[in-house]
């Protein structure tokens, strides 16, 4: 079961902080991050990849994006 982090509506660098927190502490290997801007989408995927995560899928959802990743 994947854990979902809702980072929509948050300013830089909150989405990245929440993502990295989840990567560090989370017990789930599958993480889903919700963001609402393209900047956050780029920042979150860049940060996750730097932590060795694999980005499985980025899909448009509502006003933003749903980023599905697997911990490395």
């Amino acid at each position: 079961m994947a854990v979902t982090v809702d980072a929509r509506g948050l300013s830089c660098p909150q989405p990245v902080i929440l993502t990295l927190d989840e990567i560090k502490k989370g017990s789930d290997n599958e993480i889903i991050i919700l963001v609402d801007t393209d900047t956050s989408k780029e920042n979150v995927t860049r940060a996750a990849e730097s932590q060795g995560c694999r980005i499985n899928e980025v899909t448009s959802e509502g006003e933003g994006y749903r980023i599905a990743m697997t911990k490395g």
């Binding site: 300013s11 830089c12 909150q14 801007t37 393209d38």
Partner: protein, 363 residues
């Protein structure tokens, strides 16, 4: 628009930093003040003067670069379907942060953009400013680690995001209705400096075109001077730093080529040599930018893509500039203003109060 945003790659941001590094010294060559080809804080301060919010006669000019930054970003955001009207994340706090960011920047005499352009022009005082900026941002990262945040935005009407771009468009129209007249300090409702930095400017349309171009590129690349330092300190991520360093290096080379490089501390253009207050002014600015989530340029670009809270920060900066000159807070080449030191202390206390009290609670 789907697909990869090439400007958001490592080379993308480096190229954008390099382009700004060429254009800013060129604007200086074309008439902008020394080591001030682009300075977001100084130019917003000049705008505050042009509309009479302060009466410092030497810094009054409606800077088309700022207008271009906002409108260029908006054009890019619409073209690439990234325009997202949003608002409601602690706007009044952002206003206050904007005001104190401006006050801190005017104690140093420049925003982060100008700090690197001053360095690239040989002004050693910029080193103190950049160290202060980094220190202020570092304090900001401590708050971020402790859960500091401004809360969530809400999606809103497209009109909300149009407000700052429309204000900028209005400013530009005022410039066309009341153009600068030779030897006249006033043209209709607008003030124009007759001497000092406000009297030095590149031709209007060139300034506007460069502003539009940089606004466009910066929106695509997310160029942010504060973010460059913050991400390095906070995450060890050097993506934005690449653009920042490219700006310094290319501006340095461009200054050499144009004969604008002049190394030293004393007698630098629009600068003073009070090292501690150069440091402390930028500490205040850096902390305020970090708490607000973007450098002054980034706040303009965000405003162009629909972020109404960033627009409030911009208005805070313009009002802060008015306070800075009306209250004697801004520095001059002679040194800090009569109440500049008090303003830095008050500003730091306000920023610390905001940082300590706005913690994450189920955001």
């Amino acid at each position: 628009m789907q697909g990869k945003n090439i400007f958001a790659t490592r080379w993308g941001i480096i190229v954008v930093g390099a382009i700004i590094g060429i254009l800013a010294p060129l604007l200086q060559k074309l008439g902008n003040p020394g080591n001030m080809g682009i300075c977001v804080a100084c130019f917003e301060r000049d705008i505050a003067g042009a509309i009479g919010m302060h009466r410092a006669a030497v810094v009054q000019y409606m800077r088309p670069e700022i207008i271009g930054f906002v409108l260029g970003s908006m054009i890019a955001a619409y073209l690439f379907k990234e325009y997202r009207p949003r608002v409601g994340s602690a706007p009044i706090v952002r206003f206050v942060l904007g005001a104190f960011a401006m006050i801190g920047a005017l104690v140093f005499l420049g925003c982060p953009w100008r700090a690197v352009l001053r360095l690239a022009g040989g002004d050693g005082n910029a080193i103190l400013g950049l160290l202060g900026l980094t220190f202020g941002i570092w304090i900001g990262t401590l708050f971020l680690k402790k859960g500091y945040n401004l809360g969530r935005t809400q999606t809103t009407h497209a009109t909300v995001g149009w407000m700052l771009p429309l204000i900028m468009l209005g400013f530009f129209i005022l410039m066309l209705i009341y153009p600068q007249a030779e030897g006249q300090g006033q043209s209709g409702v607008l003030s124009y400096s007759l001497k000092g930095p406000g009297a030095m400017h590149a031709p209007l349309f060139l300034s506007l075109i460069v502003g539009l171009g940089i606004g466009f590129l910066a929106q695509r690349s997310r160029f942010c001077t504060m973010g460059a330092i913050r991400d390095t300190v906070l995450f060890g991520q050097t993506h934005l730093l690449g653009g920042f360093i490219a700006l310094v290096v290319v501006a340095f080379v461009t200054n050499l080529v144009l004969g604008q490089f002049n190394a030293g501390f004393a007698g630098q253009p629009v600068a003073h040599t009070m090292h501690f207050w150069n440091f402390a002014g930028m500490t205040l600015a850096g902390l305020a930018f970090a708490l607000a989530g973007g450098c002054p340029g980034r706040q303009l670009f965000l405003s162009g893509e629909g972020d109404g809270d960033a627009a409030v920060f911009v208005m805070g900066m313009i009002v802060g500039a008015a306070f800075a000159h009306n209250f004697g807070l801004a520095s001059s080449p002679k040194g800090v203003g009569p109440h500049g030191i008090a303003a830095v202390v008050v500003g730091l206390i306000v920023c610390l109060f905001i940082g300590f009290t706005m913690r994450r609670k189920g955001v």
